[in-house]
């Protein structure tokens, strides 16, 4: 039971989409500076990734790798169309503000690359919950990053002014996103290695590209 739980939670904690694998980091770095942006991007990422991976799981496994990658990208580009239409209804300003990062969510590595190496090796019954946790992994990082950046950059929480007298405007810019994400990534690894050590698991902090 514990093992099953660990596998499920892997995408959220053990192998976080953003902090561990550094996938889909561009939207987090550039657009993850307000909670309003974060919520719109979370909706789009979750919807596009979930439906694209599920539909993509019906693609025959026998096809050559390149053909499968192209088909996955086409599926996500089609899924993107209704997702964007709905987003325009609920987040009209954010869709304009986020700009090119909205369509880019459709070619994220979780759909194009990781689905083939990770999800499609599982049975569909275990793939769906695992996929949900990988998506949640992105969502949580997006929320935390946006919360910190919005608070320290604009002195607001979801647009509501709070009492903050020293604001760091640079943190809202892409370089601020790079630095904050780097720091979060290091802290995440530290926490993960402490948890693993306490629970007697093997495996260190990992190195670049797993090398």
């Amino acid at each position: 039971m514990n093992n099953k739980k660990a596998v499920l939670l892997k995408g959220l904690l053990g192998d976080n989409t953003v902090l561990s694998s550094l996938m889909v980091i561009s939207p987090v770095i550039v657009c993850g500076n307000t909670l309003e942006n974060a919520i719109a991007l979370i909706y789009a990422f979750s919807a596009i990734t979930f439906f694209s991976v599920i539909i993509g799981s019906f693609v025959p496994k026998r096809l050559p790798y390149a053909a499968k990658i192209i088909i996955y990208a086409i599926i996500s580009s089609i899924v993107y169309i209704p997702v964007k239409t709905v987003a325009r209804e609920f987040f009209p300003d954010v869709v304009t503000h986020v700009g090119i990062y909205f369509p880019l969510l459709a070619v994220n590595s979780l759909i194009v690359v990781q689905s083939e190496t990770k999800f499609y090796r599982m049975s569909r019954a275990s793939m769906i919950p695992s996929l949900v946790f990988y998506i949640l992994g992105f969502d949580v990082v997006m929320i935390v990053t946006s919360f910190i950046r919005e608070l320290l950059t604009y002195g607001t929480i979801n647009g509501k002014l709070v009492d903050a007298d020293t604001l760091i405007s640079g943190l809202g810019l892409p370089f601020g996103g790079f630095i904050l994400l780097g720091l979060m990534c290091g802290i995440y690894r530290k926490v993960r290695s402490v948890i693993r050590r306490d629970s007697g698991e093997t495996g260190g902090d990992g190195n670049v590209s797993g090398n």
Partner: protein
């Protein structure tokens, strides 16, 4: 003087340092120096050829079907992907096993798609920019920016992966902070 001004402009429009496009791909390729450089070169091929093709798609696609842009770009990048793989196979089937991995990594990612969308956005904002030559040139410029960033990362590769770096920050996190600081300098100079 001209070179320095051009270099500043190239850095100021660098898609990784200013828009974080293709950062994941850069890190995936950062496993070793050779991978990094070849991936950067392959991405330049994709951005240059893709931008030319994007110009044609934009020209043919009516505004009312703007939401289909991504789908058409995907089909076009898919076509370039297949053509490049085929060309590499016939160019040298012995080295195909090695070279094809660069094509796999470079085809569908934020660096390529981001470049196409950025150039299209710029052309929408400045109509004088909307020419085939400008699209191809901007695609090549974006790819060159990617190569420059790859060089920047390669220069620090040994230090960022050194045993002296705290284990939790070694590799990816140190790379992110490193690129962040360089990006901060680029922003200050813009």
């Amino acid at each position: 003087m001209f070179l320095v001004t051009e270099l500043v402009a190239l850095l100021a429009t660098n898609l990784i340092l200013t828009q974080a496009l293709g950062t994941s791909t850069l890190f995936i390729a950062a496993g070793n120096k050779k991978n990094l450089l070849w991936t950067a070169i392959t991405i330049t091929v994709f951005t240059s050829v893709g931008s030319g093709a994007a110009y044609i798609i934009n020209w043919l696609l009516p505004d009312t079907f703007a939401d289909l842009t991504l789908l058409f770009y995907t089909l076009m990048v898919g076509a370039i992907y297949v053509i490049l793989l085929t060309a590499l196979y016939f160019a040298g089937s012995d080295s195909f096993e090695t070279t094809r991995k660069y094509v796999h990594v470079s085809a569908f990612n934020c660096a390529v798609m981001g470049t196409l969308f950025t150039i299209t956005d710029r052309a929408d904002a400045y109509p004088q920019f909307n020419t085939f030559f400008n699209f191809v040139f901007s695609g090549a410029e974006a790819g060159t920016g990617f190569i420059i960033t790859a060089f920047m990362l390669t220069a620090a590769f040994r230090k960022l992966n050194s045993a002296k770096v705290p284990a939790s920050f070694r590799g990816f996190p140190a790379m992110l902070v490193y690129l962040g600081l360089i990006s901060m300098a680029v922003y200050a100079l813009r």
